[in-house]
Symmetry: C2
Subunit: 99 residues, 2 copies
DNA sequence: CTCATATTTAGGAATATTCCTAAATAAGGA
DNA sequence: TCCTTATTTAGGAATATTCCTAAATATGAG
């Protein structure tokens, strides 16, 4: 799953899907690569379970799989033992952080 | 930086360094790979600024660079627009999470 | 069935990663 | 200086990633 996040194009795909679900073609149009290349990136994200796919007629709709993304984040957090306070935009003040 | 996190050995190195700083040799002893191979992994982590290194006599001491790790986490969070609540071990109740 | 559209799979070239052994470098002690 | 210890750099083989073009598949319209 970290492997899937390792390529900038795949992270950008996730950022686009964070806004709303999109078709394969619509996603592909955002990048300067061929459709088959983009399809390969979709496969990597799907294998990592970071996105789900659903067919609608001839088009395939890709969606961000939020729960798995959250698991990824949880794993990275516990790996580094970071509380999460540091991540938001404006960490006003500490909650019950007992270090 | 995501690239640096993509290899399991490098994530395990970070997990070890999260506990406390360690020498190159001490780190290498935790893995079934040669010293030069491990040294290569250290270089990747250093290039990604995820660890710092300091010489102490003949040994090199590696330390987790927490601030950069936090930035990584923040980046992943904003990429996926996740609040961070989902990550901790026991998310008792919501803070000022206003969705 | 045939055609057009949307998307994928197949095959292959260029490049990057990962691991090894052998040799080099750095530091300190006798 | 010479030796030992700690660690790195150098060079190379095996494997994986990334991208392409060409061909295949899937679906719906006519």
């Amino acid at each position: 799953m970290f492997q899937a996040l390792a390529h900038p194009v795949r992270r950008d795909i996730l950022a686009l899907l964070r806004e709303h679900a999109r078709s394969a073609g619509e996603l592909a149009d955002h990048f300067p690569y061929s459709k088959p290349t983009m399809s390969g990136h979709f496969n990597v994200l799907r294998d990592a379970d970071l996105v789900t796919v659903e067919r609608q007629g001839t088009t395939l709709i890709y969606r961000l799989n939020v729960s798995v993304a959250e698991d990824a984040l949880a794993g990275l957090m516990s790996l580094l033992r970071i509380d999460g306070e540091a991540a938001g935009a404006a960490p006003a003040r500490k909650k019950g952080a007992k270090p």
